[in-house]
Symmetry: C2
Subunit: 397 residues, 2 copies
């Protein structure tokens, strides 16, 4: 087990009707003698408006004497141009807090704005690994899509549409101070978005689970248990009732835990699949979760001879593959098949062909994936390896 | 699943040699323009001194220009009289921080002192449920005994030796700001203390696991996984090498997670066994963990007809009992036997007789257990129920 530092300051406010407390929670951040707190209210302009959630939030803000400037228009794979706009507003209006109402894209955009608001240079510097952020405005969230875990993570991923380049920042300064999670808000999510969220949270756990670090039994157990709970409850939502509160609640809480870093304590995660997927969604603008359901099975299949017992254990513990019958490699491959079958069963693509993506820019994507050097820790992957993974993923299966 | 608020501010600094960072971590709490930070350095005077740990800590404090006043003498089942003494010192010397170097008893004592230092009345008011603490000095810990989880919990349990009465406080203000966990520091723990710690952390999880709240699958999975990891790694320490770093690390981290409240999110725990045990250790001054290894199996046996499927699931998932062969009740009872066998295998008592305790004050203990009303949420227990549990525990088995 590796040495580690673990802490997660995000206060999670979970359950029915909790979005009504957002105003009171934010008001606690007002500074004495500075008048009412003025915040940026950031959202996509879509679902949160139509569903009435935004009205509820505004009412709660009003009730707590919190003033806001609204910035909507966040798209999936959130864009740098909107971030620039938000930074400008925060600086001009001297806003002191950023509230994201939405899913991972809105939250990631809010985090970027929060860093940019307190920085004199170009906020892209942080994403381009040129600078480390010194500070950010406090960020809070009302989560509508359980997926990215961004609501309690230190991560933000932004796309510079001029590239297109998709890059990430990980810094403690952008971890939300609080996040409100009401599973009821996810009842009306389109099934495809629910499925993408499930793939994203499973991927967050798999990135941590596939480690070469020995003696991480406790976190192995926690990862496996969380994956089983996600799979079972996704099945309930897709094969049963999409308004099953308890299944929605399990999925929503699992999405946060998947990415709050508890599950990586003492381990070294992989994260190659995320890097490989980012090129796919940057280029073709498909949902991140759908990109992951294409890439991750291919990543496992490509690595089948790398610490095969761990891959077989994944198959046995998470997918119920009988390890006593198969040999390790057969068991591991059976795990890949079941992972794919699960993704397909909730309507996700598992190949380029499934998603109707062309396979003609693979070498270019592979090259960009490794532009900062080899990716992954389970096995360090160079351009050739990444290309091979894209080619496995490209095949009709 | 119940609505919940979850957050845990404690920064965990985990791994080899991490105790050397304690000075630098504390120095960050010095206030500008107020000169060097002055702290209370609290410990038992025993193991931490002999092992050289206290010297390492002092060197680190010196290196970071942190000044200290020392207060040693904490005993298991920490006493109110020493807490009073610590409060007096903090007030007189105007100390601004409390560092606990030791196990749960030292940490609980430090928490009590931290509350008392900023309170004009009698700190026992908080333990006697007469007052709610408004604030406390910041507390940090260097943990030497993985057990109580006090290093990242909001709990403190103190014994007023005039009674003897053992009472607890749960408040966010006493959650440690940071805790240093180096598994190497636990190599030299006597086996009995290691075993008591294992019982304590298992009990912390079982108190949360035995709930009537339906639809808590994710946290069920996390609880079961953590219990399995504790059991397997305890076996490694007791049947293998007591200086197995990785096994010690799994146990140490599990002890924290067991009691940091993540595992109770969305659920309503039971906590009757803790209440029943407290009377035992208050009266006979046995270790809390040894009291729990006596009481918990009796608690399960007494409740065998209360939601038997959950007790059977505990037997199946945690102890490998084949649920397909036994009926639920048989499976659940087999789980109790295996739990007892495990406790015995690591040298713990599972009955009054094992611990050479007399059974003649059972009615008195039962009465005191329920002095604030029935205990437990799995089944509300009155004096008659508690007495029956003590009587099951009293039997030679």
């Amino acid at each position: 087990m590796q040495n580690f530092v673990y802490g997660n300051r995000t206060k999670i406010i979970f359950g029915k009707a909790t979005e009504k407390t957002v105003g009171a929670e934010i008001a606690a951040y007002a500074k004495e003698g500075e008048g009412p707190l003025r915040i940026l209210l950031h959202h996509s302009g879509g679902h949160a408006v139509k569903s009435g959630l935004l009205d509820t939030v505004k009412e709660s803000l009003k009730g707590a004497a919190v003033e806001w400037v609204e910035l909507s228009g966040v798209k999936p794979n959130p864009r740098l141009s909107l971030v620039y706009h938000g930074v400008e507003i925060c600086k001009k209006e001297k806003l002191g807090f950023v509230l994201a109402v939405g899913g991972g894209s809105v939250i990631d955009s809010a985090k970027a704005i929060a860093m940019g608001a307190l920085y004199d240079g170009d906020v892209w510097d942080f994403y381009d690994h040129k600078k480390v952020p010194a500070q950010a405005l406090p960020v809070a969230t009302v989560l509508t899509i359980p997926a990215a875990g961004s609501e309690s993570s230190i991560s933000s991923v932004i796309t510079d549409e001029r590239g297109p380049w998709k890059q990430g920042v990980n810094d403690e300064c952008i971890r939300p101070v609080f996040s409100i999670l009401n599973p009821e808000l996810t009842y009306s999510l389109p099934p495809y978005q629910t499925a993408c969220g499930v793939a994203d949270m499973l991927a967050h756990i798999m990135e941590r689970y596939f480690t070469r670090e020995p003696h991480v039994e406790l976190t192995d157990e926690l990862c496996e248990g969380a994956m089983r709970a996600i799979i079972r409850n996704a099945r309930k939502i897709f094969n049963g009732n999409s308004q099953d509160y308890d299944a929605r609640a399990e999925i929503m809480w699992a999405g946060s835990l998947a990415h709050n870093n508890l599950l990586s304590t003492g381990r070294i995660g992989d994260w190659a699949s995320h890097g490989i997927e980012h090129e796919l969604s940057a280029l073709y603008d498909i949902a991140h979760g759908a990109g992951l359901s294409i890439i991750f099975p291919a990543w496992i299949a490509y690595n089948i001879k790398e610490d095969t017992p761990r891959l077989a254990r994944f198959a046995a513990k998470v997918w119920g593959v009988d390890g006593a019958y198969y040999d390790y490699e057969q068991a591991a491959l059976e795990g890949v098949f079941r992972l794919k079958n699960f993704f397909r069963s909730i309507g996700l693509p598992v190949s380029f062909a499934d998603a109707k993506l062309p396979a003609d820019r693979i070498p270019e994507m592979a090259k960009r994936t490794v532009r900062f050097g080899p990716v992954g820790m389970y096995k360090k992957l160079d351009a050739k390896d990444v290309e091979a993974i894209y080619r496995i993923a490209a095949k009709e299966l």
